[in-house]
Structure formats: C-alpha cells, structure tokens
Amino acid sequence: MGLVLLIIIWLITFASTYFFIAKTWWLPAGASAAAAGIDHHFTTTFILMGIVFVAAQVSLGALVWIYRDRGSSSSKVTYSHGNTKLEIVWTLLTTILFVGLNLMSSSIWASERFRPAEVDAVRVEVTGMQFAWYFRYPGPDGKFGATNPELEDASAGGEAALGLDTKDGASKDDVVTGTMVVPVNREIEVILRAHDVIHSFFIPTMRFKQDAVPGLAIHMHFTPIQTGDYEILCAELCGLGHYKMHGMLRVVSQEEFDKWLAAREAEKQ
C-alpha cells in the first residue's frame, strides 16, 4: 500500500507540474505595459511555489513508503515529541519566503493602483449594466456631460441607456459607443461606473480587472502596447446574462483613433 501511495502521489504531482511547465494552458499573451512585470512576478511565484509543492508531495510519498509497517522487520520507531530548533528554522524560512514574495510584488501593485492616471491620458468612461458595457468619450471639450438616472432608457442603448442629459452643454460632444476604441502606447484612464449591480471590467490580455460598483466612480489606468482586437468580459456575477456580458477593445494607432473619434463626432451633429 505504501508503494501504491508513493506512485499515485508522485504521478499526480508530476502530471500536474508538467502541464504548468509545458504551459499547455497559460496566461493569455499580454498586450499592455504592465503585463511583462505582472507575468514575470507570476513566473517567480510559480517557480518558488512549484518547488515547495513538488518537494512536499515527493517527501510525503517517500515517507509513507519508507516508514510503512513491515511487521517484525520494521526498524524501531523513534520516540520523539519534535524538535524546537527545526520548528524555528522552518517558521523563519516560510516567513521570509512568503513576506519576501509579497514585498517583491508591491512595487508593481503601487505603480498600477497608487498613482492617478497621467494628465494627458485618454479618458474613457466605462459603464456596466445588465448585461452590456457602454463606453463614453468626453469629446473636444474634454468634459463629460451630466447624466440623470431618470432619463435612462436601457432598451434604447447608447446615450439613452446612460441617461445622458442633452440639455447640459458638456454633453453635446460626448460620444457613446458599444466598442472601446483606444490609441496604442497611450495611457488610458478608465472611469468605471455601474448602474444596477456590481460588474467587473476584465480584459485578460491587458492584465486589467476592476469591479464596477454602483454609486462609485473608480478611476483606473492601463497602457496598451499592441494594436489589435481584445475581448472584454464581466468577471463579477451580475445576474442571468453574466456569461454574455461581452465587449471588445480595439487598440489602433493614434492617427486611426483620431479619425475614428472625429467620425463619431460628425455622426452626432
């Protein structure tokens, strides 16, 4: 029985580890400025935890086999209540490992979340509602117009769904879209809102996730570094249509972005 346990525990360990190392399934390729740092720290954590995982499982398998009851030929059991020195050693080692890992990653977290977006960032307001994402650009005046919950008409979509107050001067040039278009290599400031329940704005390739909470306007930022189309998901359970609360992020050149935004403005007039 000891040998069977050893074989099964080792097999499970090596098979699981293989798929991690072979990267058969891995993080989707990153396309934002933050991705490299996050992925690097993921790999560091993965290697350190992987070593602990394999070491612990391999020892467990080996110990149950080596110290199985072999009847009369068993070696004598060592009568011991433990070893204080060893306890102190492994307490210190795990403390250093765990806290050290944490401190290593804190600078990335700080650069993502402790500072506001740069002044010249491209501003996009993202609003989640059951079960769609809407994106609003402030237009040439750089100001988002007022919205009013009483004006909301979810079934009409677009500006009406956001409850845009057309009487407000600042709202005249606001552009509302169902696809998020942004220029490459510019910092994007995202202002996250939700109308009804909590949603979570998740763009896996940008290593970006943040809940959109009713009652709050959460300011975040990210910098796409590759043009292309990327999927946006909702990551927080928001009701029966959660699975299909899907959107697209289109990252284009600055020139294309300007042209696209101008065309949307023209449509509005």
Binding site: S16, L27, H41, M49, Y67, T91, Q210, A235
Partner: protein, 581 residues
Amino acid sequence: MATHEFAAQESHAHAAPQGFVRKWVFSLDHKVIGLQYYFLALAAVFVGMFLSLLMRIHLIWPTLALPLLGDIKPETYLTLVTMHGTIMVFFVLTTAPQGGFGNYFLPIQIGAPDMAFPVLNMLSFWTTLLGFIVMIAAFFVAGGAPLHGWTGYAPLSAIQSTGPGEGLGADLWIISIAIFCIGALMGALNFITTTLDMRAKGMTMMRLPLTVWAWFVTAILGLLAFGVLLSAGILLLMDRNLGTSFFVPLVTINGQLTGHKGGSPLLWQHLFWFFGHPEVYIAILPAMGMCSQLLSVFSRKPIFGYKAMVYAILGIGFLGFMVWGHHMFMSGMSPYTAFAFSIMTMGIGVPSAIKTFNWLGTLMRGRIRFTSPMLFAIGFVSLFVSGGISGPFLAQPVLDIQLHDTYFVPAHFHLIMGVASIFGIFAATYYWFPKMFGRMMNESMARWHFWFSFIGTYAIFMPMHYLGMAGMPRRYSQLTEVTYLHGLIPLQKFITYAAFVTIAGQLIFLVNLFWSMFKGKQASDNPWEATTLEWTTATPPPHDNFGGHTPVVHNGPYEYSVPGAPRDYVMQSDPEIGPAH
C-alpha cells in the same frame, strides 16, 4: 491550567432517557445530537453534490434537458451554483466536523459526561435543521432559488427585480442562513464552555488531543464570525423588504429607479467576508486536528511538535480575522488596504506551513499502518499542500488582478476548504465508526472509496487552475459567448468526466456506511490501539460516557512507542509514564 469542577459536572448530568422520542429525536445526549448533525450533513452533501453534477453536465452539454429540471436556463445554472455553495459551506463543512464529530467526541475526549448545556445543544441542532429545511424550500417557491452566488453580493441580492430567484427565494435563503447562524452561535458557546469547564482531572490544556484544540478554536471563530453574518443578513433582509438602503446606493434596474439611495455595496462585502474568511478555518481546522491525531495514531509515534501545533491552530484562528480583505482586492476598496491584507494573508501561510512540516515529521521514522482512516489523513496532507500552494498566488493583489473571479479561485478553495475538509470528515468517519456503531467499516470498500476520491478530486480540481490562468471566469453558464474560451472546452469536458467517476465512487461510501452499521465486523473497545479517552470506554459509549466512573488523566494524548512501556501505546488514563517523557 485549571482542571474541572466535579460539582459543575454533576449539575449537568441528566438521567438516561426512556422512550424513542426522548432518546433519538429530542435527545439531550451529545452523542445522539452528534449523530443527528452527522446525518443532516450526509443528506446535505448528497444534495450539494447532485447540484454540482447538474452544473458539470450543463457546462459541457448546454442544450441538454435534464431530468426534473428540463432545459437549463442561465438563471437555473446560477441557482445551482448558489445553492451548491451555500449548502456545502453551511450544512456540510460547518455541520459535520464541528456539529457532528465535535459534539460526539469532544466531551468524551476530555472525560466529561455530556456538553455543558445539553438543552442548548439540542436546540442548536433543531435550529440548524430548520435552517436546512428553509434553504431547501427556496427551490420550491415562485421564481425558485436565488442566483446571487453563495456570497450574495449586494445590490444583486438586495433588490427583488435584479433577476429570477431574487424574490421570495432570496428571502428564504437569507432567513435560512440567519437561522443557521443562531444555531451555530448556541453550539459555539457550548463547545467553549465545555472545553474550559468540563475537563476531567489531569486533563490540562496541554494534554488535550489536537482534535479538541481544533474544535475549541473553531468554536471561538464561530462565536465571533456568525454574529456578524447574522447582523448582515438582517440588514440585507431589511434592504429587500423594508426599503432601507444599507447596501444599496442609487441604482436603476433596467432603467427603472428603485427608490434606494446612499448605501454601500462594499459594506456587505466587508461584513460578509469578516465572517467568510474565518469560515474557511471553521471548515478546515477540525480536519487539521483530525489529521494530526490520525497521523500520530497510525504512525505509532507522538505527534511531531505538539506545542507548535497548538500555537499554529491559535495563530491561524487569530490571523483568520485579519485577512478578509483579500477577497476584495478588485472590489474598489482602497489599494493601500489591499497591501496590508496581502501581508497578513501571506502571514497566515506560515502556521499552515508549520503544520505541514509537523505532519511530515510525524510520519518520519514511524511505523505506518495503512488503515482507511490513515489513507484519508495522508490524502488530506497531500490535498492541503496542493490547495494551499495556490494561496500565495491569490494573496498577492498583483497576481489577483488576473486570477480573481476565474476558475483558479474555485480550484484553490475546493482543494483546501472543500476536498481537504471532506477528507477530514471521511477520515473521522472511518476512524470513529467503530466507537459510534460498535462495528468496523469494510476496509476494501473503504480503500476503493479512497482511490476514487483521491485521484478523482485531483482530476477535477487541478485542471481548474489551468482554466483560471487561461482566463476562464467562474459562474459562466455558457462558454460559447467568448471566443477565447472555446479552446478551453475540452478541458471542461475532462473535468465533467472526472466528476462522474468521483461521484460514482462516493456511492461506495454510502453503501459501506449503511452496510457496516448492520453487517460490519464487531468492533472491540479500542480497535486502533489509540490513546485518547474515547477508547477507554465501552463501544458504543453508555449514556454518561464512562459508565458511572470519571476518568483521571495522567498522560499526554500521543504517547506511542514509549521506550520501556509494555505495549506500543500508553493511554491518557494509564499511570503516568514519568517525567523523563
């Protein structure tokens, strides 16, 4: 350390009941109440498992109509998710290890004739059962059971119009949890008082079996955590029905104003997780205590580092109250607090690692007997390591950006809080069955059950890590709407097939349990040659546990292979083995 007061103990003693109802239904006997809790959890676990089976089937065959349910609509799937989680967490993982085994064995292991408050004990069981009935009733009301997940995040859970199931079903869900909290609070008081006041002479705190330490600390966690959840539940109920706005700001549902304003959705999350994280330890601590006990018994060796184990249990209990914010890194909470919660969370890994080292140290240089309880204890260590190792990923906010709300999270908590705890329950069942029913369970069925469960659960939950890393969000009823998820569907299929096999394996357990109750081999009083007090008394134990006499304790709980002793174990009530040991 204070030993118990005889006077106090006698005042709690009650005469053996006559008649079926007093003996088996409204019983004051902690052993009967323990069995009642156990069978409640057994019923609940099969309900919970059945729901998960339906989820797995729907995920890979989304158009397939299911028996009883017909076509699975997206909201039906979310109902399954919600009720699976809620039933498993409350009525299985909290109920079986603490209410079941804790009730049955804590008094016997400390040498007491019963719990400190037998009437309160009976009430706590009946309250819990009522909670379960109300929970199940949620399936059958108009609109069905709620779809807001076991975490019940507001405003989704706080407004009736956010989706089907958020009407009466959601009210019943909250009421059920509130009732459960009341039962759990009564139980916690009883456990704490019993452990502090009812220990036999000589049973100092540092001679308590680690199982008792685990139940004791679990009870303290329960006392502090369930009160908060109860209050939060009442506030939520008021938001839903009385027009208050504790958790709801100004929101519109489908463009319609709801009349709420000024509340905070994050407040619910803080209150919920202030309960929710200690709850993880409420589920796992008794399994840790159980596993420590069994590794020592079946390695025929004292537990490695008894004191370190006690301090680790206390450390986990203490730190368990300071880490709730790690569930909220992406919630909109201040990123500075995320940093603090992250450090504390990494810190809680330390006592967990100490325990793992000590388990391995206990096996080393022992003489291991591969009984069925031992197999599950070894399986527990393996699963605890596998489930624990993903913790440091999720505990770092930077990595949580990608992993939060993906399958990586259910992979992590199922292995450590679900499966590892269930392995603790299985180990306890195989270990104590002879004491509870006077018969042994069938060993070969038990082994098959172990292999199905051990390999099966790894096959289910290990691939969920891969899904999570690849970006598959949890709680999606269909995987076809997002293009990049299509490539991951084969892995989902594999998981469902593994679930079929694993669930089939659980039927072996069920058969073995009931077959052995009536047909199992007669058990002796101490079939495992173990040292703790429950093995000194008759099988099954008499009404007052020790048949009129009160045990006196002279030794620690894990004296195996003591040099010079006549046999390879010295019982706690045997004459003292001397200061040298």
